[in-house]
Every structure is written in C-alpha cells, then in structure tokens.
Amino acid sequence: MEGPEANPSCSEVLTPSSALPRAEATRTALGWFWFRVRTCFGQGDAATQKLEQRSFVQRLLPLCTLVLTLCLAFTLWRALVLWTYSESPVVVVLSGSMEPGIHRGDILFLYNRTAAERPLRVGDMVVYSLRDRSLPIIHRIIEVHRRASESIGDGTRASNSSILEYFLTKGDNNFGDDRGLYPADKKWLLRSDVIGRVIFTIPKVGMLTILMNTHKWLKYALIGLLSLTLLFISE
C-alpha cells in the first residue's frame, strides 16, 4: 500500500500541492536538486516517507556528520603541522619562478625538522617568508654559510643559536639571486625565515585553489556544494 494515506503521520505533512512525484521532479537538474532539498526536509513523495518519520536527533545526524568531518580535517592538519614542524606543511605554487621543475598549481609538501645529520644544504628547495611579503616564496638554496657567531653587519642577525646559518636563494627560472626580493637591510636568509624544505610534489592539483582565489564565487559555490553533498549523502 503506497501513498500519503498509507501513513497517517505523513499525511499531515504532504498535501496534494506539496507532494512531488519522483519522476516528475527529477526530469531536470534543477528539479532534481529541489526534489532532494524537499526530501531532506521531509516533503518528498511517497517513496521517501520513511525520512519524515525520523526523529529530531536523526534529522540532525547529517549536520553532525558535517561538523565531525570538519573536525577530523582540522585534527589531521594539526597533526601534520606537528609532525613536519612546519606552520604550513602543504603549499600551492603560485608563480613560475621554479619552472620547469615546479609549475604553477603544483602542490608541495614541506618538512621543517632539520636534525644535525641533515641540515639544510645547497640545492634544497625551501619555502621562506619575509616580513615585507604577504606570500611565502619557493626557491632553491644556492649558498649556505655556517658561522659560530654573528660576523656580518646587516639586518640578518636574529638568532640565539651559537651556530648561525646564512642562506642565499634563487629561482631555477630566474636570472639572478633573491637579494632583490629580500628587505633592503637583509642580505641573507636565516633559519627562522624558512618555513620548510620541499620533499614531495603532486602536480596541478592546486590549480583549484588558484582558481578559487581568483574567482571568489567559485570558493563559496564549492563549499556549498560539498556541504549539501554531505547532508544528502546520509540518506
């Protein structure tokens, strides 16, 4: 036995105008979307009557799933930060200064723990941040100098360590070194400027991030789409 009359509790919700036959409603993409929204909130056709019998707590479950998923993602991110000892262990390349090895949109994984047996060396690709620049830079170390004390008179002195490390970097695709990018009073990078050493790459996956930063509406559309998917998937 089917239809609204089969379930008295549903008949209170379903009226002839609000009851949507599934085949009718899902004929177009917009119709399908509206059908799912109404189904989620208990206004679907007879085939979805069981949804309307859910308790308040059961109806909150999709929202709980969404919150838990976000919490899990945040926890995993913090665990990655702790393990890599880097404030941002995953970065997206925004420029072509390291081409042809690293392209715009590539995702890079950073590692910032440097044991005594594996310090930063010439040839390593590092991500560093400077006080005058909002975005970090990914370039390669071309000079390293380790000195026991502060022996140069410029703005790079900023460490309590007995051994100071001075780095000079350059983009593979750039003609000159990065001194032009550093602040005027800074001739060398220090260890504290380095966010991490690049250890792993995934190509082009970060293009979505670049597109989202370029087109803000895409970011909100994707967040909305993911949220709706998580809400509907629990059905």
């Binding site: 090895g101 690709m125 390293v144 100098h145 022996s151 790459t201």
Partner: protein
Amino acid sequence: MVASTWRQRLTSYAATCFFWFLILLALQVALDAVRTARCPQITVKNFGGRILGFHGNLPRASETAFLSIDMEADFQPVWRGTYRQLYVFIVAESKNASSQVTLWDKVVGSRDSRVIRLIGERAKYPLRAFPNETLRGNSITMRLHYMVMPYVGLYQRRVALGSADLTFHENAST
C-alpha cells in the same frame, strides 16, 4: 532488497575507480622512491677547475673568484620515465664544510641529452667569500650533486662519485 538507482551505481563505480587510482599511484610513488634510492652512483670523469679571475680586496670589498670547470658525467643509468627532470649542480665546499656555494647548475629534462660534458666551461655563479673573510690561502672541494624531481613523488638528492680540489694562493692577484 532495495534496487540501487543509476546515480548510486555511478557514484559507487566512480568512488571505487578513484580509490584504486590512489592506491596504484601511492604504490608507484613508493616503488619509484625505492628504485631511485637503490640506483647506482654516477661517477664523474675528468673533474677539475681553474681560476679565471679574482676580484676584491679586504677590507674594502668582498673577494670573488671566477672559475672554469671540466667534467663529464652520464646520467642515463639513473634516468626513469617517471622523472620530470634532474637538477644537476656542482657545489664548492670549504674544508670544514662551513660554506657551500653552487658554481654551476643544469636542468636535465626528458628531451635533453643525459650525458653532460663540460670542457673549460665558465662557472655560472661566482665564488664569493663570506663577508669579512678571505678566499686566499684556502682550498675548496668541488662535488657534483643531482636532485631527482619526479612528476609525482619524493624529491631525492644524490652525490656523484669523484671530486676536485682547488686552492687559492696567498698572493692571488686581483
């Protein structure tokens, strides 16, 4: 038993395909990393360097040396199709390794020749002494390094066998 809709079936197939794609990719990346780590070491032949010019006098200006390099290395044995490029570079190290400076570098892509032969090649980067320090009376050791840069996966760096020493005399002229 509830019959699944075509949407559910499609989602299920897509999820399964994506899952196995990720598994295979992870396996390939791991296998590639192990193979790269086990690759035979490159040997550099005819490695040497000469001082072309020397500039700067302390304490007025930092010292800078311009070098030329001779070297021959074959990277064919270590190349794999999964590599985007090899970053090959020659590093000058001071005696106690307190300073490391890149003298020359080259990107070896999939279409480039994997045999590198330098004869009297001028170093791309000058050898600059650290501020308030001198190169005179010191010696450096040149070594060939290379970094494997795959399309997907771990970046690994290796050092080739063979090195060359170069000494700056006390009376090196500017």
